[in-house]
């Protein structure tokens, strides 16, 4: 599903040029659950942003479902993204002005789903995430774990083929963290491909495969299952 070859990404500031990704190559097959690990600053988030089509690589190739997308225009990327990819962030990133229901509904709105259908699907996923009773609350009124569940609900409501999670448990205590990992595992079992960045060896155990990075390139790859 994801095929990355010699991917490069630089950040230029006035004095220095940082190499965030250095000739990074790997593949992720459909249905896999991959964890990406590495020390802080090694380029994990950068990688995830590129895979998530939020950012452009500076070199190398990136095939998504067999199509080369590294040269895509913003509009094309947005289009591909909204139909195929769901995001889960460390800091949840819910819109404060929208309720739980409305936050989860957003991706459906952007893909043009009809209101009745939207309602049905949002309720279904909220039910699944056990957050239905909070549907009319605003994010500030929820605990961290609840917020992250809403964020996961939002990421999956569109039935994306790929979920990208950047330290999804980073802001949560261990029980809430486990709950979220459970959710991701279930989703994976239902066929969703997952790429997750994490600092926690514990969380990494939920995945099939761990990619370890250092200074922008892959150092090891270990199969867990």
């Amino acid at each position: 599903m994801i095929k990355i070859k010699d991917l490069e990404k630089y950040y230029r500031t006035e004095e220095v040029q940082t190499v965030a990704l250095n000739k990074l190559s790997f593949e992720v097959k459909e249905g896999e659950f991959v964890a990406v690990m590495g020390p802080s600053g090694c380029g994990k988030s950068t990688l995830l942003n590129i895979i998530g089509l939020l950012d452009d690589p500076d070199g190398g190739s990136f095939e998504f479902n067999g199509i080369e997308v590294s040269g895509y225009k913003e509009r094309q990327r947005a289009n591909l993204r909204k139909h195929n990819i769901g995001f889960v962030f460390q800091s949840f990133n819910l819109i404060d002005e929208l309720t739980v229901f409305e936050n989860v509904e957003l991706p459906l709105i952007y893909t043009g789903v009809k209101p009745a259908e939207r309602k049905r699907r949002v309720e279904e996923v909220l039910e699944k995430m056990q957050i239905m009773h909070r549907r009319n609350h605003f994010p500030q009124q929820l605990s961290g774990g609840q917020q992250q569940r809403v964020a996961v609900a939002r990421a999956v409501v569109n039935d994306p083929k790929l979920i990208l999670a950047d330290e999804p448990t980073g802001n949560l205590d261990s029980s809430n963290g486990n709950e979220v990992m459970q959710l991701l595992t279930e989703l994976n079992e239902q066929g969703t491909t997952i790429v997750m960045v994490t600092h926690s060896e514990h969380d990494a155990k939920y995945s099939h495969r761990v990619i370890r990075m250092l200074d922008g390139h892959k150092v090891t790859e270990s199969l867990l299952v």
Partner: protein, 800 residues
């Protein structure tokens, strides 16, 4: 999707109350100002729209040259009519001679009222398209007939049938009422046409009018025309240009090189100023001026919107990032933010309409207009929709483009600062805003100063406690001595004189004189006022050479006084005793200069005093009684007594009078109206700018809450912090001042050239405007700065 946007917009508005208030209220004021100005401009541009033939109606104007100076006016000689009819009747549907609009007493049974109207030829009715409510369409074909406006008929006859009734005009003629026409609405020429009398009656009543039938030199009448539909103004102008110059019998006037032309009705109201024979504009300049001010005020309000929206961008950055990460395209975000701005603009527009409705009456008073809210005018609503959309796009597009351009990666990572990129445009906007405000302040001060400067000119007589009574009807002929004695002995007046023009105007100009030392080919043009011997003393004129008129000297019936300007103008070295003759070698005795008086402002206070000759009135040519009220009694007492005396002698005539100082003040009305409108708009512009500044300051303070907290912990005191937060804004205002000053100077310097008596544009105006702007900025910004600076640092540090 729309509903979702709407929800976010609404919740955002509610969450940030101050911001929403500033944004909506500021925008509403800006829009209200623009709407009101729009209504005013519309009203001005629709002047004379009552006349459906307006694009074919014109008045014949004349440009003549005196000593190289071209003067243009509407007064034309009587023979012009016949010349036009003989040579060009095939090109005109109507050629209509007319008198000036003059008051007339109209008497029916025991009702006697004074009304204004013209004596006109028959074509006038069809040309103006008067709507006949009762009676016949050709109501002035008979010499002894009269047509009345509906309100005049009502005043005279009440509910009685007016048609066929006989009324007495000026106690002289019995006229039969033949028709009643609909009042011509205000905002049209001829709106004071209370009646129309036959030209024929006018032309055959007074001797001087009769005599003028073949006098090309007597420019005392008006001529209106309606062109045939196939004629164009330019063509006709070419054809009639030389009509007077080439006319047999007009040889005497050749030296003034008379050029005739048509002044179209569409230009009467807005483009009626002529300089050196060329149309230079007129009121249209004010239409432009206010139109531009209106747009500027709207721009200021839009700038607030843009500024506040971008200032809030950091708060909304996260939303943009999230939306992008869940699949929103940039176009969708642009649409969202434009939609939000449309939403706010619509709310502001509703509020603006409410403000307009609430302030229209006051505005009408200020502008002396009768503008109504155009509820039923579809084009108003269409224009409103266009206006709302344009405003929404204007104010929303920058924030929309800016906000939607955020990079989601940076935003979500939290490293995003709406720093550098947003700051420059925001600064430019604030500078623009304050440049406009400061320029308006400077402009308004200069207009006010010019008016004050003109008001401070010495007018040469004492206008307080002076009234004038119009006495232009036959009834008053030969009564002036009786009346003077009666008024004086009543104790209500301490002096009375008569004059052929009111104190505040000159109705007659003469040329054709000879005097010793007159330069060859000199074409004099003298203001001519016939006065009774008490004129100088009753008005308080100052005799600077020679002596005043006196009843003691029988020879004074040929005496004249000159004003100082006339002495200089005529080149008289030793004026007293000089003789002035008429050059048509008539048998009249020459006039003798017995004295010189100080210049008196009778006409425009903005222009130099005209060379004037005050002539001993031996024909009883009085148009006004000038009465100096008794200062020892109250004004109302005096007026009551004067009315009684008047009624004793003229029981059938209505008594009317004017205070001379009020008449004089009228001369400033137009400019004062402009000044008060400009002041109001300036205050509103400043208010809008300050609202914006206030909002911006509060956001900056909010953004820097953490920084302020840290600085306080490190030992900064309130003054340091206040300086820190206010400095930036003060710098911007200072830059605005630097831009606005030369701009305002340039425009006002230009405006002020139209006045001969100019005030000087002194440096203190700029200083004052600058200090004012800085003071206002400090107050506005300090409120927020101090609030932030005095906040508890522990609390503000916790907000992160």
């Amino acid at each position: 999707m729309i509903r979702n946007y709407f929800k976010i917009a609404w919740r955002n508005l509610r969450k940030n109350k101050i911001y929403s208030f500033i944004n909506i209220f500021g925008l509403a004021i800006g829009m209200a100002v623009t709407i009101i100005i729009g209504l005013w401009v519309h009203d001005e541009l629709n002047y004379n729209h009552y006349f459906k033939n307006r694009d074919k109606i014109a008045q014949v104007f004349q440009t003549q040259t005196f000593n190289g100076n071209k003067g243009t006016g509407s007064a034309i000689p009587r023979p012009l009519e016949m010349a036009m009819r003989e040579q060009h009747s095939d090109k005109f549907k109507h050629i209509v001679m007319s008198s000036w609009n003059q008051p007339s007493y109209l008497e029916y049974k025991d009702i006697n009222i004074s009304k204004n109207g013209n004596s006109m030829q028959e074509g006038a009715i069809d040309m103006l398209g008067l709507k006949i409510l009762k009676g016949v369409k050709d109501g002035i074909s008979d010499r002894y007939s009269i047509m009345l406006s509906a309100s005049t008929a009502k005043a005279l006859f009440g509910d009685e049938e007016p048609i066929g009734k006989i009324i007495k005009a000026n106690s002289q003629y019995d006229l039969k009422v033949t028709a009643v026409y609909e009042d011509i609405p205000v905002n049209n020429s001829f709106s004071d046409l209370d009646f129309v009398k036959p030209w024929d009656l006018y032309a055959n009543s007074m001797d001087w009018v009769k005599r003028s039938i073949d006098s090309w030199g007597n420019n005392s009448f008006q001529l209106f025309v309606q062109m045939n539909d196939d004629q164009t103004l330019d063509d006709l102008n070419k054809q009639i240009e030389r009509i007077k110059l080439d006319a047999p019998g007009a040889e005497d006037t050749k030296q003034y090189n008379p050029v005739m032309f048509l002044h179209p009705m569409d230009d009467w109201h807005l483009r009626s100023e002529f300089k050196n024979g060329v149309k230079t504009g007129g009121r249209i300049e004010y239409v432009w001026l206010f139109g531009i001010i209106g747009l500027f005020v709207l721009l200021l309000a839009c700038i607030n919107f843009m500024n506040l929206s971008t200032a809030r961008s950091e708060k909304r950055a996260k939303e943009v990032g999230i939306r992008k990460s869940v699949g929103s395209s940039r176009e969708q975000l642009i649409r969202q933010f434009l939609g939000e701005s449309l939403f706010v603009v619509v709310i502001a527009w509703v509020l603006a309409i409410i403000i307009v409705l609430a302030s229209l009456d006051g505005f009408n008073k200020l502008a002396s207009k009768a503008i109504e809210f155009p509820w039923t005018n579809p084009s108003f609503w269409l224009a409103s929709i266009a206006f709302v959309i344009i405003t929404a796009v204007l104010s929303g597009s920058y924030p929309a483009l800016y906000l939607s351009s955020f990079n989601p990666v940076e935003v979500l990572k939290g490293t995003f600062k709406a720093g550098k990129l947003a700051h420059l445009p925001r600064k430019v906007l604030v500078v623009t805003q304050f440049t406009v405000s400061i320029a308006l302040i400077i402009g308004t001060i200069i207009i006010l100063k010019q008016i004050q400067h003109t008001k401070n000119r010495p007018i040469g007589y004492s206008k307080e406690g002076l009234i004038q009574i119009p006495v232009m009807s036959q009834d008053f002929l030969g009564k002036q001595d009786i009346m003077r004695n009666a008024f004086l002995s009543s104790g209500a007046a301490i002096a009375m004189s008569t004059s052929s023009s009111p104190t505040t105007n000159v109705w007659s100009n003469r040329s054709g004189f000879l005097w010793e030392g007159k330069p060859d080919g000199f074409q004099e043009d003298l203001a001519w006022v016939e006065v009774s011997p008490e004129y100088v003393s009753s008005l308080g004129l100052k005799v600077v050479e020679g002596r005043d008129f006196s009843r003691e000297f029988p020879t004074d019936s040929n005496a004249v006084l000159l004003n100082k300007t006339a002495v200089k103008y005529m080149g008289l070295n030793d004026p007293v005793g000089k003789l002035i003759r008429s050059d048509d070698d008539g048998e009249d005795e020459p006039m003798k200069v017995i004295g010189v008086v100080e210049d008196v402002i009778m006409q425009s206070p903005y222009e130099p005093v005209k060379q004037t000759i005050f002539v001993f009135d031996r024909h009883g040519n009085a148009s006004y009684y000038n009465l100096r009220l008794n200062p020892d009694r109250s004004v109302s007492q005096n007026l009551e007594t004067i009315e009684q005396v008047f009624k004793e002698h003229f029981p059938n005539l209505p008594f009317s009078y004017q205070f001379v100082d009020e008449e004089y003040a009228q001369k400033f009305a137009a400019e004062e109206r402009i000044a008060s409108l400009a002041s109001v708009f300036t205050v509103l512009a400043i208010l809008i700018s300050c609202l914006g500044l206030f909002g911006l300051a509060s956001f900056v303070a909010e953004q820097r809450t953490k920084e302020i907290g840290v600085r306080k912990v490190l030992g900064a005191d309130i003054t340091n912090l206040w300086m820190l937060l206010s400095k930036d804004f003060l710098t911007l205002v200072a830059i605005s001042l630097l831009i606005a000053s030369p701009l305002a100077y340039f425009f006002m310097q230009n405006w002020i050239t139209k006045f001969t008596y100019k005030t000087n544009i002194s440096w203190w105006i700029f200083l004052m405007a600058g200090m004012g702007a800085i003071l206002i900025t400090m107050i506005t910004v300090s409120f927020q700065s101090l609030k932030a600076a005095t906040a508890n640092p522990v609390k503000s540090l916790r907000t992160e």
